[in-house]
């Protein structure tokens, strides 16, 4: 199973390195999103209080949705998702492989987004890099865990581009709240690491629950 997961992740990254389609589109979209918020909200060089955390997570969620859609659109074009499901490995391996590929692409976008948000909104996001990494990575995994399952489910649906955010955003509200609150806690003048730890623990719990549910439901959902 681990071998199959590794092959799928390596294949997804190779395809992305060749086309750079998802990296460019998500990055362009995320940067545009942050710039527009900066133009709208930063008045006379003064950003809104606690705005940076919300804007960072909006950009992550929107660009992540774009990445999810495009990743599975690729698998749909030549029906390669069916070929993956035909492989002699437990079908959840396909889910984990796709999830890790998407998380890698989202982390790549976040590496650009975080310094950009930090600069435009004068937010000290990088003051506690370990805890920021913990919040962002656990949040990204939670968002992608649900998104990967829904994107795979909707791959043959005609209105998949509309349905994906409609299904994804309500279910990932807890991830967004925990991500925003955890990031906002890191931006306070006196950082209370206990609060940050609480939100990270909550995000880890969400990740465990969502991934377990996805592994449990992936095979029956994909078989029919």
């Amino acid at each position: 199973m681990l071998h199959a997961i590794w092959l799928i992740v390596r294949k997804d990254l190779t395809v992305e390195v060749r086309s750079r389609e998802i990296a460019y589109t998500t990055l362009f979209f995320a940067v545009s999103c942050v710039l527009q918020f900066a133009f709208a909200l930063v008045k006379e060089g003064k950003p809104p209080d606690d705005g940076a955390a919300g804007i960072l997570w909006i950009a992550i969620a929107f660009s992540g949705t774009l990445a999810l859609g495009r990743t599975f659109e690729r698998e749909r074009q030549s029906e390669t998702l069916r070929a993956l499901l035909l492989a002699p490995t437990a079908r959840p391996a396909v889910y984990i492989g796709k999830l890790l590929g998407i998380v890698s692409l989202m982390v790549l976008t976040e590496l650009i987004l975080i310094p950009l948000v930090s600069f435009l909104f004068q937010a000290s996001l990088l003051a506690h890099p370990f805890w920021l990494l913990a919040v962002v990575i656990t949040g990204t995994i939670g968002f992608s865990a649900v998104g990967t399952l829904f994107a795979a489910m909707l791959v043959r649906a005609r209105s998949r581009d509309v349905l994906l955010p409609v299904l994804l955003y309500p279910i990932t509200v807890p991830v967004m709240i925990a991500g925003v609150r955890g990031t906002a806690a890191l931006l306070q003048p006196e950082v209370d690491l206990g609060v940050v730890r609480f939100w990270v623990a909550l995000l880890i719990s969400f990740d465990v629950v969502f991934i377990t549910l996805a592994l449990w439901t992936f095979e029956p959902l994909m078989t029919d």
Binding site: V15, Q77, S78, T89
Partner: protein, 255 residues
């Protein structure tokens, strides 16, 4: 009827896989919502046999192949692979999939990857020891060794079809399910494919082909199942003069 676990590359495609001597489709129906795609289909196909699924568009050929590939479940009825019943022994489904090769109407290839990378990727998924070597051997067999490092997206439809065929057969499957395998092939490639499939049959594979190409099917099939509106309209044990049989069974304008 025999079920066993085998490991030798010639028998099991390098995968510790479940093996079987026949496939039994027993009173299988499949619905999509209110639409009945297949209705009470029954047939048996054994090792060393090439069965053709013939019929117009929408007759249920591709649905039947998807059911046999374990990509779908029947709404009612059962499909058994030797003594193995997917409904009963679900945990062995990955082992079963290791013995099935599928060529879909879409080709299951990544256009951004080279022909070698595509085949090596799927060889790896099927646990073939030296996936890269297996990919190159398969490309030599397809007559595409000189294009091994070209992206599949730059290939013609016929070339992609040849790569896709090798992808479907790279793990030496016991059951090969081929949906329109002659699409895009020139005469020489089609003749080579017929020879390849007969060779596979003679080595003990079970081959099920869904096709509209009755001329090529006539020289290939051991038995033909004519499907119409999701039902078996006719079975030809020794398919000769397929075109006239097809017209008689399906009515004028069939093939």
């Amino acid at each position: 009827m025999n079920v066993s676990n085998t490991r030798g590359p010639a028998e099991a495609g390098h995968y510790g896989a479940l093996d079987f001597d026949d496939v039994i489709v027993d009173d299988v129906s499949r619905r999509f919502g209110r639409r009945r795609a297949l209705s009470r289909i029954s047939f048996t196909v054994a090792r060393g046999e090439i069965l053709g699924l013939l019929g117009p568009n929408g007759a249920g050929k591709s649905t039947m192949l998807s059911l046999l590939a374990t990509l779908m479940r029947p709404t009612s009825g059962r499909i058994r692979f030797g003594a193995f019943d997917l409904e009963i022994a679900d945990e062995r489904a990955p082992q079963l999939r290791g013995r099935i090769g599928v060529l879909g109407h879409d080709l299951f290839l990544y256009p951004e990857l080279t022909a070698r990378e595509n085949l090596a990727f799927f060889a790896g998924l099927y646990n073939i020891d030296d996936a890269n070597r297996a990919a190159l051997t398969a490309l030599e067999r397809a007559g595409l060794a000189d294009r091994a490092d070209d992206q599949v997206g730059s290939f013609s439809r016929g070339m992609r079809q040849r790569v896709a065929l090798e992808r479907a057969l790279i793990h030496n499957p016991r059951l090969a399910l081929l949906d329109e395998p002659f699409t895009g092939l020139d005469d020489a490639s089609a003749a080579a494919l017929v020879g390849r499939l007969k060779g596979l049959r003679d080595s003990g594979a079970i081959i099920i082909v869904a096709t509209h190409d009755l001329d090529l099917a006539e020289g290939l099939l051991d038995r033909a199942l004519f499907l119409r509106d999701g039902r078996v309209a006719h079975t030809a044990a020794q398919p000769e003069a397929l075109r006239s049989t097809y017209r008689t069974v399906m009515g004028k304008g069939g093939a």
